[in-house]
Point group: C2
Chain length 227, copies 2
């Protein structure tokens, strides 16, 4: 991804340098960026499950207009939000509660990594990476046009440690759980979304600067449906 990485925090040997308040823990070994607190998600009310399931259709054409931080918060929560404090269980089930998925958000304002713990974002870049991401997705215009692209990446090794060769299919199924939650939440917010599975993995990894152990599995453009 072009544009400078936002690394306002410096960590040496695990010690946060004083004066770098507001910095959050990103993925291990990554540049740590500005932390953005998300508003608390709604966990009751809104559209019924049945209505969202009945109304969901793939939306590939979007009208201009960014999403609000409330909408982004709600979508991130639906995808991977923590719904049980004790063990940190989430909105979508995961084999052995190992949670091998990482969520990235790409908007005109930059690249963000969602941290379920604390329900917050870490800003990794301030450049609009949607164009590069669209190129990595074989030029699909929905990716360039949507206000928000959600990229689900998987760390197979987290699940392989317990489940061996069956792990990969579990991780893909879990990406599906998360994807469906995103689609349904988008409908419930009056937004549209589409499943994008056709992309060059390596190009997406480069566009997002993913760590080597993360594989992009799924891209979901979300935005205001075109009239």
């Amino acid at each position: 991804m072009k544009g400078k990485l936002i690394a306002v925090c410096v960590v040496i040997a695990g010690v946060l340098i004083p004066g770098t308040v507001g910095c959050g823990q990103g993925r291990e070994g990554e540049p740590r960026g500005k932390e953005i607190a998300l508003p608390a998600p709604a966990t009751t009310g809104g559209m019924s499950f049945t209505e969202a399931a009945a109304k969901r259709r793939s939306v590939r054409e979007f009208a201009p207009g960014a999403l609000s931080l409330e909408q982004i918060s709600q979508l991130a929560w639906a995808a991977q939000g923590i719904t049980e404090a004790g063990r940190g269980l989430r909105t979508a089930p995961s084999a052995g509660a190992l949670y091998p998925l990482e969520l990235y958000l790409v908007t005109k304002d930059g690249l963000f990594h969602y941290l379920p713990q604390g329900h917050k974002l870490i800003q990794l870049s301030d450049a609009d990476g949607r164009g590069d991401l669209s190129k990595a997705a074989l030029g699909q215009s929905s990716v360039a046009q949507a206000a928000l692209d959600i990229v689900i990446a998987g760390v197979f090794s987290r699940t392989e440690a317990k489940y061996g060769e069956r792990a990969r299919q579990y991780v893909y199924i879990e990406a599906g759980h998360v994807g469906q939650n995103i689609h349904l939440q988008a409908v419930a917010l009056g937004l549209g979304s589409v499943s994008v599975g056709a992309f060059r993995d390596q190009a997406v990894s480069e566009a997002l600067g993913l760590p080597g152990d993360q594989t992009p599995l799924y891209i979901i453009p979300v935005g205001h449906p075109a009239a």
Copy 2:
């Protein structure tokens, strides 16, 4: 699966023998069984998406008690129901709208194949196959105990024809879409469910008598949560 196959319809060279009214079209080449019309599913109302996502937890212990035909209808619809008549689009998105998944229901009353077109079941057996299915799932008691086991099978070739080697991951992701819809619908109905991915594929195929081109991907026991 033990117990006799119910094959009240006879089809020779594609012609339904007269006098076998009430028989439905199953999967190609399979014994055709008794057709069971399902009540129309609710497509509005009920629990909100956010509340269902917040409340969903894996439920592995079930109280006795069968599900009503209304509940079975609603779960099957959430999984694979048709929500757009024109192209037959469904509650969960599928790459290229190719719909490689087949849904089987296992209860004390037998084995049933869900047909999205017409929203109906075809009864393939009248034997309770939950015990055999549990054995194929490494003895997991939730599978034997649940009122209903939903088995999602995939026909990889349907998606491979268009998407080649990327098809397998698409099919697993789609099983995840469907699984999440089932989990959310279960919560909305006051029921519980759990993801079961650990099973011997061949043993599940034999327990259900799956055609050779179908691979079991996912088992979801659903029932009344134990107190």
